[in-house]
């Protein structure tokens, strides 16, 4: 893909090679062909918008910059197009107008950096709280991370059209495990339209990382981005920094990382199967799947010292080694697990009423799935054959063999089947990894991490592809760290999936993308209903300097 792109648009671009087949082009002049560049890339068969990073480079390049990263997963190549946006005239042509997947990226840049995307279909505020004053952009350099300005609260929701009424599946709802607001416009029980307002748990970790933390402290924040797939985020961050600083981590560390990633995938999928069963009222399925998940959590606890936040990864490798008795522990758990998972799956598929509730609802067609750039089990259930472990191999995945389940129907049942097959795949992956784990050190020696280097890396989290972009800065600090979780794309597709189905199915459809809202973040705790805003003052604990 890079070769054809260069022939077509080569001369006007300044090229910079990031890593093997990862290239960044910066567009200085003739901004109009930026749009047909993106159109050219996106029209190719297996490409997707990887991530989009807005940066405030005023002190180094005297302007803002907006970088679109594209991935062709068949050719395993990554292309980045950077566009410099001068400070006095902060606007750039919107890709969102031609490719729906970019809308949220551009709304975020509009919120956090104040760069206005011309032609954006939905220019409303996405990330910032309702009462954040106009004109204050947190990601800019002149904004201090502990400021928390107050404004007046207003948020323009869409009005219900042709006498449909509003059925809010609001921030506090039994079926949503984290706060998000689906404003369902319904006629009786049938949903005719959806308006999403999210980002209730945005904690501004990118600004926090820029403001106060050094490399090894950021990894603990990265691990706490998501409640379930924390380790995938910390590995993605570690790999991005290692790529930027050209650090080679030892093989044993790569294997240990693979083992723990698969353990996390096991417990995340089993958790989802339990939640799906519970939402349809099938509590026996819920309890049985969490019973099996408990064994995986205990294994993780014995291996890493904590059920969920493993705290094992550091830039350059792993902090603790898997001693021999832990290896036998893994094998023993896996053998028990395989039998029980098969028994659970037979029970689930034999319960006709559960299957009837999952079949045929929340259908997402392949074109729409590709249009919204969905990833993970949601995309694979709609026929998109993309899995970061196989298509952009990292850690030890290129040395292990596994197949990627892909279904066509694209309904909730297909997503369940994809996740069940992936559980079985993870078990066999774990077995291979434990057998083939090489000896040697677990931590690479490296001295200073060079500044002004860029790294981008993706990890296949249970919900899809986590993409982390890192630009290293001076004095052991990060200059820019961009986290893109899979739910960021999958959540945009939910409004298409909900139309036409009843409010009884809505919780199950929303849960079917296995949303992890805290991966998508929000800064302030605001008591929205009564309008009072409780501000966490960072100095609140009294002991902070």
């Amino acid at each position: 893909m890079i070769r054809e792109f260069e022939e077509k648009f080569g001369p006007t671009l300044e090229k910079k090679v990031i890593a093997k087949n990862k290239v960044l082009y910066t567009l200085m002049v003739r901004r109009e062909d930026f749009i047909n560049m993106t159109k050219y890339i996106l029209n190719r068969p297996n490409t997707r918008l990887f991530t989009m990073v807005g940066m405030d480079e005023r002190n180094t390049e005297e302007s803002f910059s907006v970088t679109y990263w594209f991935l062709d997963w068949k050719a395993q190549e990554v292309i980045g197009i950077r566009l410099y946006v001068p400070e006095e005239e902060p606007s750039f042509p919107s890709v969102g107008a031609i490719h729906k997947g970019a809308i949220w990226f551009e709304r975020e840049v509009q919120d956090l950096l104040g760069l206005e995307a011309e032609g954006l279909p939905d220019p409303r505020r996405l990330i910032l709280p309702d009462d954040w004053p106009e004109g204050v952009y947190p990601l800019r350099e002149d904004f201090q991370y502990y400021h928390s300005p107050m404004g007046t609260r207003n948020y323009p929701y869409r009005e219900p059209k042709n006498n449909s009424t509003v059925h809010p599946m609001g921030p506090y709802h039994v079926a949503l495990d984290e706060p998000a607001h689906f404003r369902l416009f319904v006629k009786g029980e049938e949903i005719v339209d959806v308006d999403y307002r999210g980002f209730y748990s945005h904690r501004g970790i990118e600004k926090l990382a820029r403001g106060r933390l050094n490399y090894n402290q950021v990894i603990f924040i990265a691990e706490r981005v998501c409640g379930i797939c924390g380790f995938a985020h910390s590995i993605a961050y570690a790999q991005a920094v290692e790529e930027a600083a050209k650090i080679e981590i030892p093989d044993r560390a790569r294997y240990i990382r693979t083992i723990l990633l698969e353990i996390e995938r096991l417990h995340s999928h089993l958790l989802w199967i339990g939640v799906a069963a519970h939402l349809t009222g099938f509590d026996t399925g819920f309890m049985r799947s969490w019973l099996i998940r408990e064994k995986v959590m205990e294994l993780a606890e014995r291996l890493t010292g904590n059920r969920k936040t493993y705290g094992l990864a550091l830039v350059g490798g792993v902090r603790r080694d898997l001693l021999d008795y832990r290896k036998s522990l893994i094998l023993e758990t896996i053998n028990k697990l395989r039998g029980e998972v098969n028994e659970l799956v037979d029970m689930l598929l034999a319960t006709k009423s559960f299957i009837k509730r999952c079949e045929g609802i929340g259908v997402l067609s392949k074109e729409k799935a590709r249009e919204w750039d969905t990833a993970g089990p949601l995309a694979r259930a709609s026929g998109i054959d993309y899995d970061t472990r196989r298509d952009l191999p990292y850690a030890a995945y290129d040395e292990l063999s596994f197949n990627v389940p892909v279904y066509k129907e694209g309904d909730v049942l297909a997503r369940a089947l994809v996740r069940i097959d992936e559980v079985k795949e993870s078990i066999s992956l774990l077995e291979q990894a434990v057998d083939a784990i090489p000896g040697g050190p677990v931590m690479a020696e490296f001295n200073e991490i060079p500044s002004w280097r860029e790294g981008i890396s993706a990890v296949e989290a249970p919900r899809g592809e986590n993409t982390h972009y890192v630009m290293t800065g001076e004095i052991n600090r990060i200059y820019r760290w961009r986290v893109k979780a899979p739910t960021y794309n999958n959540l945009q597709a939910v409004s298409d999936m909900l139309r036409g189905y009843t409010i009884g199915d809505a919780p199950l459809i929303v849960a079917s993308i296995d949303p992890c809202y805290s991966c998508t973040e929000r800064v302030q705790v605001v008591d929205i209903e009564s309008g009072k805003a409780k501000v966490i003052s960072f100095g609140g604990m009294g002991t902070c300097p």
Partner: protein
């Protein structure tokens, strides 16, 4: 057959490798502050009070994310993560643990220096005796920063004069 337990009434023991609540052993802690630098959420704080010569290492379990980085970097293995996970209490004070150490006094000007006495002894015990200028290091260590600068300047000028003769 049921695997759930009546937890609060039946006590529950966390596994061996569990990273529980950290605890500082006051006898071993030398007050070097390595843990303070490495702690991601600033749960460990160093408060120096040069008037009455004390250094406080304050551990706030409320802020601690139990990542065990402090345990790794502590030179004297003073801070360790226990297997205790029940950290709930109805008063915020029980979460805070303070280790107070006496700061060393500068031999020359008598002002308090920014390292503790224990730190001084630890460093001295660490330096192998066979090192060349062992006595000069021994002599230079217990001075405050200004006296050290003064001493180096004095030595430099002495050395200068000897050269000139």
């Amino acid at each position: 057959m049921p695997i759930t337990k009546y937890y609060p009434f039946e006590p529950e023991q966390a596994p061996l490798e569990y990273r529980g609540v950290p605890e500082i052993n006051p006898h071993l802690c030398v007050g070097c502050g390595a843990c303070v630098n490495v702690c991601p959420p600033d749960a460990l704080i160093k408060i120096d009070d040069y008037e009455n010569g004390t250094r406080k290492i304050v551990l706030d379990i409320g802020r601690c994310i139990r990542c065990a980085r402090c345990e790794e970097v502590c030179p004297t293995r003073a801070i360790r993560l226990t297997r205790e996970f029940e950290a709930a209490s109805n008063d915020r004070i029980c979460h805070v643990e303070i280790v107070e150490l006496k700061l060393a006094k500068c031999r020359e000007c008598g002002k308090y220096v920014d390292y503790t006495e224990r730190q001084l002894q630890k460093v001295l015990s660490l330096i192998p005796p066979g090192i060349l200028e062992f006595d000069r290091i021994r002599e230079k260590l217990p001075l405050c920063r200004e006296c050290k600068r003064l001493l180096t300047v004095v030595n430099a000028t002495k050395f200068e004069e000897e050269m000139r003769e």
